[in-house]
């Protein structure tokens, strides 16, 4: 942040990543095509999570509720009413924004472990609510959105999200927005304060910052990104169900972020991609493939707490944001 030359390098790196992903769609075989699209959407979830954990230092075990808010916020109107896909996406964003704001106003009065447990409890209540209102949400069986609902018409041309090309590029657009948004945030004055809060909150308060407001901002940004990922997931992959609101998905967000590197912008992408394929491959061998999750978490916490990109940054690339 204290050098102009660095800024150019950083922008170039991140734009290059987007460019490579764009080019990749023409080279990838069909199976991986769909996978990478899914990875990019889930990465957006992790990027949001990282804003809160990596940059503000707040550990949450309830982020699945923001993802699910976006998922149901977009999916339910699309399933029951006649509205456009883009409007549905907007509703998903709105739902996660509202949830993040209400939650933050209440929960941020707690700190540390108490905050963590509050996130867990709220997320669990949200999940249980999706089960309780079974008639509407269809619980963990879930529902599938029709292809017709997932079509957008722009300037006379209709784009269906079921089409692999549209799906991939929509996912890429979502990923690019979240990733670049995160980059802008962490390199801004607000980002500087968030890092300060992470490092030493009492000191930050004694420098005159209202840390509660900053944490709320981080939480809302984090929640909306997660919600965008959820809404995107509904539109692109058609399935909406309670599974996405379980603790499992909150733990995934933690896992992907930790693996890639907490507090790095590109870390979540690396972590999500790697974990996706690890689980995919493990699933071919055994039904207990979630064992991989446990092992990776332990390995990370015992020996590589900084994760992949975090360790890279510490060793060789100190300018990596």
């Amino acid at each position: 942040m204290s050098g102009g030359g660095k800024g150019g390098r950083i922008a170039a790196l991140h734009l290059a990543v987007i460019a490579v992903l764009f080019a990749a769609q023409f080279l990838l075989p069909a199976y991986h095509h769909g996978n990478v699209a899914r990875i990019m959407v889930l990465t957006s979830f992790a990027v949001g999570y990282n804003v809160l954990l990596g940059y503000t230092g707040l550990l949450s075990l309830g982020h699945a509720m923001f993802f699910a808010a976006g998922l149901y916020g977009a999916g339910l109107p699309l399933y029951y009413f006649e509205i456009g896909a883009l409007q549905a996406f907007g509703l998903g964003l709105l739902a996660s924004l509202a949830l993040a704001l209400c939650f933050g106003l209440v929960a941020l009065r707690a700190s540390g472990i108490a905050f963590l447990i509050v996130t867990l409890m709220f997320a669990q209540a949200f999940f249980l609510a999706t089960l309780y209102f079974n008639e509407i949400t269809l619980g963990d069986q879930g529902f599938v959105l029709s292809e017709q609902a997932r079509t957008v018409t722009l300037g006379g041309v209709s784009f269906s999200f079921a089409d692999p090309v549209v799906k991939y590029n929509a996912a890429l657009l979502l990923f690019a927005c979240c990733m670049l948004g995160c980059l802008a945030l962490v390199r801004s004055p607000i980002g500087r304060v968030l890092v300060a809060i992470r490092e030493n909150e009492p000191r930050t308060r004694m420098l005159g910052y209202n840390t509660y407001v900053y944490k709320l901002i981080a939480l809302v940004v984090s929640g909306v990104m997660a919600g965008a990922a959820g809404a995107g997931y509904a539109l692109l992959f058609a399935y909406v169900g309670s599974t996405f609101a379980t603790i499992q998905y909150s733990i995934y967000a933690l896992l992907w972020t930790l693996l890639g590197g907490v507090g790095t912008v590109l870390g979540p992408f690396v972590g999500t991609g790697l974990m996706f394929y690890l689980i995919d491959i493990a699933g071919d061998f055994t039904t207990s493939y979630l064992l991989v999750v446990g092992v990776v978490l332990l390995v990370l916490i015992l020996w590589y707490p900084k994760g992949l990109l975090g360790s890279l940054r510490a060793r060789w690339l100190p300018w990596l944001p």
Binding site: S188, I190, P202, R203, R205, L207, G208
Partner: protein, 248 residues
């Protein structure tokens, strides 16, 4: 020229359970003075300044600053009013660079938002670091500074906030004698623009810098006055050399 009262506490008290750490203290500071608070360990000095800076909420009493009642204000709001506190146990951002540490302070007083005023911040950081002789250590992680220099970094952070009242809690602890001398110079320089409140155990520093001294013992102010008045005060001597509060 009449002295302007900058800070005033009225019967301010802080109880922890059964203990009255600060016991109905009336304390006031005039603008532009350098005031030292001295007293044996446990006298309530840090508690008193914590009440003034907002880190602790008073059990009773009132505090006013520049004519405004600030009793209800939170700590971060008081910084905005110009009250700046440097911690007794150094509290900086150890893994951030020296530049970043001071930049955080500068950013607060210069405003910012999403698109900050980076050049103005850089200038203020430069000035602050130069005043404490740390301007050659921009990129060094703050945690790697020797302890004494970390304390100076904290003073630099305080400076960058453009304070009206700068509260220093045992600032020379851990400094070498040569560093203490330049520190006293720094304080005198700051005093031309801000009021200084100093908690110190180092008596030569106190006698050199302070225009007035306040002596506390067991939560109360037992003496207050110019340095030579305090030096000869028998009550002060008794408090320091008395039975249960002897200096180690």
């Amino acid at each position: 020229m009449a002295a302007v009262t900058l800070l005033e506490t009225t019967a301010v008290a802080k109880r922890f359970g059964g203990l009255a750490a600060v016991d109905h203290v009336d304390f006031s500071l005039n603008q532009g003075e350098i005031r030292a608070i001295i007293g044996p360990n446990g006298a309530g000095k840090t508690t008193l300044v914590s009440l003034i800076s907002g880190r602790l909420r008073p059990t009773s009493g009132r505090i006013s600053f520049a004519g405004e009642d600030i009793t209800r204000l939170k700590s971060y709001q008081r910084v905005g009013r110009g009250i700046v506190y440097t911690f007794q146990v150094t509290s900086i951002f150890r893994s951030l660079s020296c530049y970043e540490n001071v930049a955080l302070a500068a950013q607060r007083s210069l405003g910012g938002g999403l698109f900050g005023a980076e050049p103005a911040i850089a200038e203020r950081v430069e000035t602050a670091l130069r005043h404490v002789n740390l301007d050659d250590r921009h990129e060094l992680a703050a945690g790697e500074l020797p302890y004494g220099h970390q304390r100076l970094l904290e003073v630099a952070m305080g400076l960058a906030l453009d304070p009206k009242l700068l509260i220093l809690d045992e600032p020379t602890q851990g400094l070498a004698p040569g560093e203490i001398a330049s520190f006293c110079e720094l304080i005198r320089h700051i005093a031309s623009r801000a009021t200084i409140l100093l908690i110190e155990h180092n008596m030569p520093v106190v006698l050199e810098l302070a225009s007035r001294i306040t002596v506390m013992d067991r939560g109360k102010i037992i003496a207050e006055g110019a340095p030579d008045e305090i030096e000869g005060n028998p009550e002060v001597q008794r408090a320091y050399l008395g039975t249960s509060h002897a200096e180690a």
